[in-house]
Symmetry: C2
Subunit: 243 residues, 2 copies
């Protein structure tokens, strides 16, 4: 029986999703909790690897388990075993061909910038505090030009290698919400650090360090150095996985 | 020169406002930061003592300092020295008779209940998670009866003694905001644990453990045992000090 499990997590305390030798990860915590329920340790496959410090409002993963436990029972049992910074939201039986990563048609990320002269202790580690006034119109001029199917290799870090670096962005916009600027990016897939480099570049555009109409030039250059800074991880939220 | 300083803080890591022998307090951190700026250690007087784990969206305090530093310079200097869970928002020169505590005409507290079947890692330690469905109408029926001038000794813990336990509540209501229930209480002053006992009793009313029309009976009893439970500290926010 294959289960699709939806969780949320505050990434601050974790070295990202994927189990690794040094540092505690979300995958490890979810597997620990499932092991307490099932008395064996299911391998849990995530929809993506999130970086250290990145959060998830909705992260999807799947696991296989032989005997059947009612779906709502799994959720409440998981919530009693999971730490307070990870919650199980939903669990449902899916087709045995379903794959949390490969079945995903796309994902939506939200990046939160707290744009205020003074810091805010309630959003520390849950947003990027930028104290100088940002120009949302200028940022949107740049961001909207990224929509489409392009080779986004210039907007990726070299840390992880994939062969195909062409992705389709269907939405890329910044919105002012009170003291926050929320940048929403939806695509069929993302390269390593892609959203954080897009956000960092948009901030550089607002600061007049990069031209607001340079998006296609950066894409065509295929050169990471043409894009801007990498925004810090703690403002990034995986918001939605589209199946 | 007397300064009125407005700060915000996430109370999770602190043993409340007031300096005490065991445990780190917000007052201590603010005095540490001021000492770095002024090269002497001003005594900072707060508008109230908040309990361990209680937060402040707007906490007011005053201090005296001999030589003049521009008010906006104090704020930015403080924010560079304060830890990330405390922020300085505003600083202004006030009359030498001003007193952060005694000049206050009233205060407004907000208590946040997260009322959802599953927990939410993003509001953990910033709200009280109640998973059973609460009845906001019933809570409001009880809460509205508390408005007025009464001896609220039944709604106070015995930990701190004051002689006069009569207070005037001018606003006391619960409001549903998405998955949250926010209880707002405004009064000319508060007894020890008063808001937390009011909130705990309102939850007991919703759970049919206490009658929704019992508010005046509890007040008249002057008996703490007639009121309900004390809600946990981490849902409580000092929201506004009225001068």
């Amino acid at each position: 029986m294959r289960y699709l499990l939806t969780i949320s997590y505050l990434g601050t305390a974790y070295h990202g999703w994927q189990v690794q030798p040094n540092g505690v990860t979300v995958q490890e915590k979810v597997q620990d909790a499932l092991e307490k329920i099932y008395k064996f340790r299911p391998n849990v496959t995530g929809c993506s690897r999130t970086d250290a410090g990145v959060h998830a409002l909705e992260f999807c993963c799947h696991f296989d388990a032989e005997y059947i436990i009612r779906e709502d029972k799994i959720v409440s049992a998981l919530n009693s075993y999971l730490p307070d910074d990870i919650s199980a939201n939903e669990c449902k039986i899916v087709d045995s061909n379903f794959h949390a990563r490969y079945s995903a048609k796309g994902k939506n990320y939200i990046y939160k910038i707290y744009n205020s002269t003074t810091p805010n202790p309630f959003v520390f580690n849950r947003s990027w505090h930028v104290s100088r006034r940002l120009d949302v119109d200028k940022m949107n001029c740049f961001l909207s030009s990224l929509v489409g199917t392009h080779d986004f290799v210039a907007f990726s870090s070299s840390g992880r290698t994939v062969e195909d670096t062409v992705r389709t962005i269907t939405e890329c916009k910044a919105e002012k919400k009170g003291d926050f600027i929320e940048i929403s990016v939806t695509a069929d897939g993302f390269l390593y650090n892609m959203v954080r480099i897009i956000v960092g570049t948009a901030v550089n555009v607002s600061d007049n360090k990069i031209s607001e109409d340079s998006a296609l030039d950066i894409i065509r250059s295929k050169d990471r150095n043409m894009a801007g800074i990498t925004a810090p991880p703690y403002g990034l939220f995986l918001n939605k996985v589209i199946y």
